[in-house]
Subunit: 481 residues, 4 copies
């Protein structure tokens, strides 16, 4: 059934995907820990939130639309008692906001109950779904996570570990997955390691989460990342690891570092904040500009702007301020305000920019709808020049692994030259970080990574995992996430 | 996920079951018609309400907890556009009030989408469910309707008509079922005809509903009842009938006439109100009592009281008044009020009963918790004598076909003699209608019916459909309804 | 601020007014008692409900829109602790449904805090309001109750008893009023006794309520009615009475007996149910009709129909059934259903009326919009003749004392002859009870009453309390009630 | 009546006060402009929001609890039609969150209707209130704004301009006030100019707002600040100014610059962001520390940290990240998490601080409850040294002019020495900006200001407006704001 979802102000960013968390902690209030973990992962999904708890006998759960603070209240949490929990936040779309699609998916099968939380996107979900339906499978959501659920049930005569391995053989694409029974927690990451997943420890409890910031929030210790192709099993006898499937190459999503992940997270050994700062420094090397100040578009452009300042010597300043109460609203601005809706979210600090030559740094440009308005705002506040720098390469290709990029024709860089985009946004100059520069910034953080470590398909169209013809967001709902 | 359900005042009645409605009406606002049809069937279920609509391409739906007026609003209804609709109201329990269990169940299978609304209870659901799970079926509810859904998907290679016949062969118990695809509507009634189901016409539209009162409310014309074992198919070429399965005997639930159905409904050719009145007349013949007035316990005892008055010549009067705003509340009465909670719902008309010998008629006694309080209230209002008559026999056995009777030991008539019950409720005398008298009242309405037409198992333990050992409400959630 | 109010199905009745209740009960959960008392008085107002509680130091309160079960929940009630409470239910209008207008009104003045609940309507409120404003009074509602509040504050140097007497001298019109301080409860009834108000006892507690049905619901004992012009004071030393003002004549609203009050209430010594039954008997004497059955329009026409049957010998039957879930809804029927919206509320019992000559009795006709549809429904169900009888005289004049009658031109009897109305509703005959007959029915209940006891201005235009020129509902919001 | 208010995570800041906005704009959607203006002023109050609109004939309004996005929806806004609007956001307290106390206050008096929105706090409200009550005034809230309302009504025989001047003579304390009639808008600022208030222009419309950021958000042009003691009148003939009262000295709240106001606002000619940066530079001069990096406690410490970096040459870095979804929640952290609740809001960037000597700058310390936890978090993340600097002097005295400082004994600096506070928070060193340094930073922004321009009573106890004995937050609800 459909449920109202209010909408954020339009903003020119890739859509966040999903976040997952699992807690195995006898003696702890695992639902509450999952709640606060989801709170830390909220940036990965604002459409819906859900928590399921296993108590040896059965699984109980609650899901709701909106932010985790909207979906849950004290009473709902108190009803969820057990020793193992799994939680999920789902990204926000306007089209098919269904509570039925909220995760974790909970189901009963021949061995009992199971809850599944998924971050990622299968590329062969339609094919798998068809196969299952032909032999009598019934689907209640439009997510590809339900395909995983049905495969696990089909392999229900095997142990759950074996059923997971068989399922991994069947499915293609990206998946960071947490599976919970009434008793135990299993976590796995696809063989390419597209989406992040890490392991933490809090006293005797184990925590598995999309990002390390969730571990920090809970006061847990970071242990390690889940390896690509690894299945981690946590139960009364501790944590065991199965190296299930391997792949010739990694394909970690580089956009996690550019924009998606929280800056205070550490993913596969690299600090997101430090990576962004390095991108800013690299940008300074590639695009030296005569200017009085360099500013970031809050919040995601700030780290790169600080890096640029550090490398170039141009002074960093706060030229744009964000309304810290920006949130959801149904209210439409008046017609005359609409062209300047960006003002609801951002405002220029006139005294900081007036009479100045300003470098403005943002992490990415998707449709290009917002940047022009920010440039105009800075000019109205008195900036003499506005140079826009972007700390990632132009996005020219859609993503099939769990990110809601627009269809190709909406991507401004797919159809316009850099000069055309510059004219559109009215900047004095416009520069993007090069693909090589982006890689260099990453390698600077960790000498073990290379071009083959990352998926950069949205920049260069080199898809590391095969894409079926005709696949797009509308053939199949991405990943349940 | 769990959702709050407020509770009615406790009342000593069998629980209502479920109500279903289907509309096939190109050019009509079928969702709105379904809404008002459910409004008329509200007495059959107050826990949740749902409507699904097919528009040739897909099925859209909305479900919500509570009364149909609580579950829907104008906007929800307006979003449901199509030419065929199916609606459901579900009975109210406190234990497992789950939105997930609300109906219609909507699912996708190999042939497209389907919505299923069910009134009844399968007696072999556990066995069927186990069989399905062993070959990979996944269940998201605890209702037996999901068993039906999975069987239909398993027979997905056949036509839907054939799949329904095969499913009817597999399942045992009671079911009045409406199945809707994106395009058409099918309705069927189990071979015993336990629960009612009838067909109506509104201009070119066909309407299938649990009770004829829904047809009247929509201004539709009553056409006929669906026959036991019949499948009715409605699509662009009109209505066709399949006589799918037959049974040696009918087993229509006689309690529909005693209490469940609305008095203005006509079920299998008999007016519910007339039947109740006839039960009252029969009671007068069986239990003549010297009294000044005869009163009914509102609302369901009124018709029998009028019948008693008619036959006996004792004057009918309104001795008890019902608060017409009685509804749902979370509020607990104060301790001192609790013993008299019946006063929140009923009040005696002192001037009508004071100094009188009163015959008070109710349709049934289940646990016997309320009758004593009403007797006491009448005495406090000045009644000189209070004789309680019941227009049905003592309930001594549980029901397995879709009614939430208490477990056997809670049924007061199962463990106490009539004299013991009389003492418990403090009446001057207590009489029940005999089984023979009940049948006589029914036969008086329609000469074609006989003892074999009805299921009267709750009175005499003669179950017309085999009951597996150990089956009770708690092994398997009754019927989704 | 405005708050959503859902709407009842349109129904052709005078609007209910308001209901008040006060509890003085140290040691009791007075808020809860007030809640259940309002529950019993719900028929007197469905727009909003409020309860204020005094605990010696201060007054706390909660008010909400809708039914008392919608406006309150367990937590809200639990927050209201004290030894004295006053509650109010307000009538439903669509125009100015304001939470700000909900009662009781709570305010602070020179002596502390006060809460006021009012049932009635002042006829000189505009004049009083103007006088107060000229000397600096500030108003936050549009109700005339705020005029009373300001007068009490102006007389704040006197004792509260004296301030009440002075205020009674100032104000004209109808008022049954409960005034509560942090400590005690005072109740008064206008000198004409237009609206009812009675006193009950529950152990050591005193209860004052609009109708005795509220006392019964709480298990309290009826003590007596508050006298017209009397002030009753309840505090730690018990109940004392002040005979404040007297008037040459009573002017009790006779419509309380015809329709407003609950049938199980006893008002000024007369049972409402018995009075209605007597009106039916009188109707039988005035309008003998050859017929097979007599039926009432549920619920309010039933008592008169029973009286008619008793007197005439024509058999009473249930020819019309009411949907017992009728309630509030925003949903509009489809266009084709609209003309028959009455079917959502009522349905004919075909087997009861087909082939019969039917007498149908209703308590009153206001606009005449509903009766025609019921007549038509009965004919469609097979009635051979339909004779409509009304157990009150034609309403030809508006009410200024607390009832929301339509403006005069909407009253069908004000502009049409009886024969014209009969044609409009399509009945075979139409008869109203005569004014003399109505009085006779009342006198039959209590030999002490006479024509001068009652206000029958809506029938005959003889207004017992002077009406300022130009006063109508839209100049001044009626009474806060 | 009480309404639920969810709570922010506890945070060691002074409570925000209130924000007001007025729009005079025939032909514009003034309610919508007010809505977005309040959205920009949301940091000044999160407890409740309200908007009133005048349309020549009357004033309509809506108020609700929570953020402006929670209190309003599209439909509520659409109902508010007119040419002049006034809006208010109220600060958040837990004690007396009452919708009744929400502003604007709307009332009727002898001349018609009026709406009043107030930011500030009267110091003689209790005395004024008593005087008014003795002559019959009635109060429905506990705010001092209602005192203003009653004074205006008492002077109702004068013109509104005259009534305002007389009222200004009566009241003492701080008030930035917007008064709206059905037709026009008046704004005034107390003679000391404690709280900010400025004027903007949007085409032909005039806008009055607490801060200039609201003007920017609406795309309006900043015109000037309202002068202390000035009344501004806006109606069909434009804007006129009355210099009503003058005072020997200004007393602008310096805390607006330190913490309250949005950094992108310009108040009395000084940019808040620039002022904070200057405080940071001054701090660098007063407290030079050997360190590797300087970080700000987000968000309010960032500007000072940048200033410190600029002056000292120590590198600025992002060592702390804020969860951008931090908001309201009822959920209590687990016992073990409670001591680290700060982690829900902030997280350290380990790679930024590990092995470093860190200077951490915050704008103020109130109770000192949070700083210690942040210091500990930085140490756990690997910081070698943590030096805490505060960009304002120690707060040792309560505020009586509209800020909810704790009572004196809760202010950590009032009872502990700097060294004791340093030990409590566990920093390697702790320094506050000096009073002289603070002033120097302000003078650096604008040569016309001096020690006498500002109220710095919370630092030095020199109260520029007389404080009655015994006045505290609990004698009288501050300002309605």
């Amino acid at each position: 059934m459909s449920i109202d979802v209010t909408h954020d102000l339009p903003w020119d960013k890739m859509r966040e995907e999903c976040g997952v968390i699992g807690i195995y902690g006898p003696g702890k209030d695992v639902a509450r820990l999952a709640y606060f973990g989801l709170y830390a992962l909220q940036h990965r999904g604002q459409e819906s939130a859900g928590i399921a708890v296993g108590n040896s006998r059965e699984i109980e759960f609650h899901k709701g639309m909106g932010l985790v603070t909207e979906a849950f209240n004290e009473r709902k949490l108190e009803e969820l008692k057990g020793h193992v929990a799994v939680g999920h936040v789902r990204y926000s779309t306007t089209g098919s906001s269904l509570l039925a699609n909220a995760q974790p998916l909970i189901f009963r099968y021949s061995k009992g109950m199971m809850a599944v939380a998924h971050n990622g996107n299968l590329t062969n979900a339609s094919e798998m779904r068809q196969n299952l339906a032909l032999t009598g499978a019934v689907f209640q959501t439009t997510t590809d996570t339900e395909v995983i659920v049905n495969l696990l049930a089909r392999y229900g005569q095997s142990s759950l570990e074996e059923a997971l391995i068989k399922t991994m053989v069947d499915i293609k694409g990206s998946y960071s997955l947490i599976v919970m029974t009434e008793n135990r927690m299993l976590a796995l990451r696809d063989p390419h390691g597209v989406r992040p997943l890490c392991i933490g420890r809090l006293d005797d409890a184990y925590i598995i989460a999309s990002e390390s910031c969730a571990l920090d929030t809970l006061g847990a210790t970071f242990v390690r990342d889940v390896e690509p192709g690894e299945i981690v099993v946590v139960d009364g006898s501790g944590l065991t690891s199965i190296k299930a499937l391997s792949q010739p190459r990694r394909a970690a999503c580089i956009f996690e570092y550019i924009y998606f992940a929280r800056p205070d997270s550490l993913i596969d050994g690299i600090s997101v904040n430090r990576a962004r700062r390095a991108m800013g420094r690299q940008l300074a090397r590639e695009c030296p500009i005569e200017a009085d100040i360099v500013i970031g578009v809050p919040d995601s452009g700030t780290a790169a702007a600080l890096g640029y300042a550090e490398e170039s010597g141009v002074a960093f300043d706060q030229g744009l301020m964000k309304n810290r109460y920006v949130g959801r609203t149904f209210i439409q601005p008046t017609q005359e305000m609409r062209s300047q809706a960006v003002r609801l979210k951002l405002n220029a600090v006139a005294k900081a920019v007036e009479g100045k030559r300003v470098i403005m740094i943002d992490d990415s440009i998707v449709r290009g709808t917002t940047s022009g308005k920010i440039v105009q705002m800075l000019r109205q506040a008195g900036a003499k020049e506005v140079h826009m720098l972007v700390s990632s390469p132009p996005i020219t290709q859609p993503c099939y692994y769990g990110i809601d990029t627009s269809v190709r024709k909406e991507l401004v860089a797919a159809t316009k030259t850099v000069e055309e985009v510059r004219q559109m946004i009215g900047a004095d100059s416009l520069h993007y970080l090069s693909e090589e520069g982006l890689l260099a910034a990453m390698i600077g953080q960790n000498a073990n990574v290379s071009r083959n470590t990352y998926c950069m398909a949205c920049f260069n169209g080199e898809y590391p995992i095969e894409i079926p013809v005709g696949l797009d967001k509308y053939t199949m709902e991405g990943c349940g996430c």
